[in-house]
């Protein structure tokens, strides 16, 4: 680390936060990123600027698929760079500060800082980190009690990118809100990454009239329309300019091929060999505990995380042939406190599956499932819910904290162990 006016203070803050993180993880109190990050910023408020000096930064933001796309981009970028990243999903200021604290003090010039950023924080974190590349995925309704409505976010991004001429953008041209955010940027690679959930994109962000969608195009009468993509998907291939790159993904679902296409756009901006990057991305089979299949009480459980209607549309595709489905819904701050969005999910698609409603908001889910004509049972505790399943192959689909609850339980560092302390840490981490 460089000698600076306040380098002592930063060093001290980094030591403390790393120790706290180590302790938290040993005690099974979470990923150990947010609270240590908060301590770090408390002692050294300037830590993000200081610790990122000399680092080439790439940011990934959007409502859905931030963590997965960041993990895929990380795999690809490692073809050429050493990458410091926040793939645990701690994507606000604290999490990013802590990722920087973990950065080795002896690093070569070929280092990239790759961070997923909460959509509300993109402009402010961008200002602190001066990224070279920003990847924008999608914008749709999510946690409306905390995050602004999607249109407001889109306008904030647009202003930020219009005023930052040194940023190269990689953006999804199938989402009108993303195009509105990115179109004033000086350099954009458009990726046809798809948009299954169109409800938040129907009214034109430019003029308010209705956008007309066709199979792979959209336009508005005001002239606002889909830009031509430089990167697009053809089955399991990604087409970039005149090249075709195969993606034989381990991760399930079509949306993960699209996520990889965006990640390849990031690699293109960073000058990485794309064939090499694609092979590395294909091998990713787990992202922060998501997608993997694990054994719980004799069941083979596929762990899926989704937190809003747009995400759910992709998840039905991943549940596939699993005959039992446990759905876990919580409503803590990280989930959004209002699960009304459950009514925007076509749960009718679970017909024929054995369904267990779980989580702290299992009752909201239960009413929703009744009206979808889906018979189900209730078990608030997700582990108990998995135990109720009569089939061996189970998909567990949880929103953020419900997923993390089950993950902790199965990783063995729950639940009899210090639940009150965990609650306390949780409160300070929010």
């Amino acid at each position: 680390m460089r000698i600076k006016y306040d380098s002592m203070r930063i060093r001290f803050a980094v030591r403390i936060s790393l120790s706290v993180s180590f302790l938290l993880r040993r005690l099974g109190l979470g990923e150990g990123a947010t609270l240590p990050g908060r301590i770090l910023l408390g002692i050294a408020p300037n830590a993000i600027n200081e610790l990122s000096e000399g680092l080439r930064v790439i940011l990934v933001s959007g409502t859905n698929a931030k963590t997965t796309t960041t993990a895929l981009a990380k795999a690809g970028l490692q073809a050429r760079y050493s990458v410091v990243s926040n793939v645990t999903g701690a994507n606000m200021r604290e999490g990013i500060a802590f990722s920087l604290a973990q950065r080795s003090s002896r690093h070569s010039g070929d280092e990239i800082g790759l961070f997923e950023v909460d959509e509300s924080y993109l402009p402010s974190i961008g200002q602190a980190l001066s990224p070279k590349v920003v990847a924008l995925l999608n914008l749709s309704r999510d946690q409306l009690d905390r995050v602004s409505e999607t249109r407001m976010t889109s306008i904030k991004w647009r202003n930020y990118l219009a005023g930052s001429p040194n940023i190269s953008v990689v953006a999804n041209c199938d989402d009108p809100l993303i195009v509105f955010s990115a179109e004033k940027a000086s350099d954009v690679i458009w990726v046809a990454a798809g948009l299954n959930f169109k409800f938040d994109a129907r009214s034109c962000p430019n003029c308010g009239a209705e956008i007309r969608f066709s199979a792979d195009d959209w336009l508005c009468d005001c002239g606002f329309r889909r830009p031509d993509p430089r990167i697009s998907l053809v089955q399991n291939f990604v087409e970039i300019d005149d090249r075709r790159i195969e993606l034989d993904m381990q991760l399930p679902g079509r949306c993960n091929v699209a996520n990889a296409a965006v990640a390849l756009g990031v690699c293109l901006q960073a000058g990485v060999d794309l064939e090499d990057a694609a092979v590395r991305m294909s091998k990713v089979d787990e992202v922060a505990g998501r997608y993997r299949r694990i054994s719980i009480t004799g069941h083979q459980v596929r762990m899926l995380l989704t937190k809003n209607p747009a995400g759910w549309l992709e998840v039905f595709d991943m549940i596939g042939a699993d005959r039992s489905v446990v759905v876990g819904i919580n409503s803590r701050i990280a989930d959004g406190k209002d699960p009304s969005w459950l009514w925007d999910v076509p749960f009718e698609m679970l017909k024929g599956k054995e369904v267990i409603a779980s989580g702290e908001r299992a009752y909201d889910l239960s009413v929703r499932l009744r009206y979808a004509g889906i018979d189900h049972r209730l078990a608030k505790d997700p582990l108990e819910a998995v135990g109720l399943c009569s089939h061996g192959e189970v998909s567990f689909v949880g929103n953020y904290t419900s997923f993390q609850d089950l993950r902790r339980m199965i990783e063995g560092n729950d639940t009899k162990f210090l639940p009150q302390l965990r609650q306390l840490v949780g409160r300070f981490s929010q």
Partner: protein, 248 residues
């Protein structure tokens, strides 16, 4: 044989941000469970809005789409004509606001509403009203306490000759004037409120009130599991709202 009912979901693509489409699903199903044949119509921009519906449901959404929906509903005023024909309207949040006399655009400019409710919605510079909402409804409605989740910026003034839906027990509701605050408005068979959740998922009796305002007295629903699911959710949300009250 059974009677038919027309249920009209008004602009779910513009005003469907907060899950209020659930109200439509619930209303349609509860009609069917009473033996009515439901003709369900979803109206989106560009489509003629029929005035021969029995039930019109409008939800919450963002400022731009809200102004757009209001403009479209002003053309040939189909909702006023439907009310004159005896239809019921249930409107939530942004949908409620556009049915009043006026509401603010995102730039603060005052826009004319449809004037079905004698209310005016004003721009509010204070904190957004977000959280559990508990409302004691007007006594003559014979309803239990109502539960919802509110999430809005503006405040709504009920004018001297208008009537609110009820008195706020927890939360902000219309958030206009001094305490006790009121929520929503009621005008004949038209009900407006700030309750998301969706409102009918948490308050099936409110849904049944809207139904019986058009079709007359209806029997209790025989689906025990459905009723039980509603009861569990209702009790859970009452407890949550009480916890909010204790904290504040």
């Amino acid at each position: 044989m059974s009677e038919g009912c027309r249920v009209i979901s008004v602009f779910p693509e513009l005003l469907g941000t907060y899950g209020d489409s659930g109200n439509t699903v619930i209303l349609a199903k509860r009609l069917e469970l009473r033996g009515f044949k439901v003709d369900f119509v979803e109206i989106n921009p560009g489509v003629h809005i029929p005035s021969d519906g029995d039930f019109y449901l409008i939800g919450g959404g963002e400022d731009g789409p809200q102004a757009r929906a209001s403009d479209l509903l002003a053309i040939e005023s189909p909702l006023s004509r439907a009310i004159d024909r005896g239809a019921a309207i249930f409107a939530v949040c942004a949908g409620f606001q556009i049915l009043g006399n006026s509401f603010p655009a995102s730039n603060g400019r005052k826009l004319s509403g449809l004037g079905l409710f004698r209310v005016e919605t004003h721009r509010h510079l204070g904190p957004r009203s977000v959280g559990e909402l508990l409302v004691s409804p007007l006594q003559e409605l014979h309803l239990p306490i109502l539960s919802g989740y509110e999430n809005h910026q503006s405040v709504t003034e009920v004018l001297a000759n208008g009537s609110p839906l009820g008195t706020v027990l927890v939360g902000k509701g219309n958030n206009f004037g001094s305490d006790p605050k009121v929520d929503g408005a009621i005008e004949g068979k038209a009900i407006g409120t700030y309750m998301h959740g969706p409102a009918f998922a948490r308050n099936p009796k409110l849904c049944d009130l809207v139904i019986s305002s058009v079709v007359g007295p209806i029997p209790e629903i025989e689906d025990i599991e459905l009723t039980r699911s509603h009861q569990l959710l209702y009790q859970d949300r009452l407890n949550a709202a009480q916890a909010v009250k204790r904290r504040t």
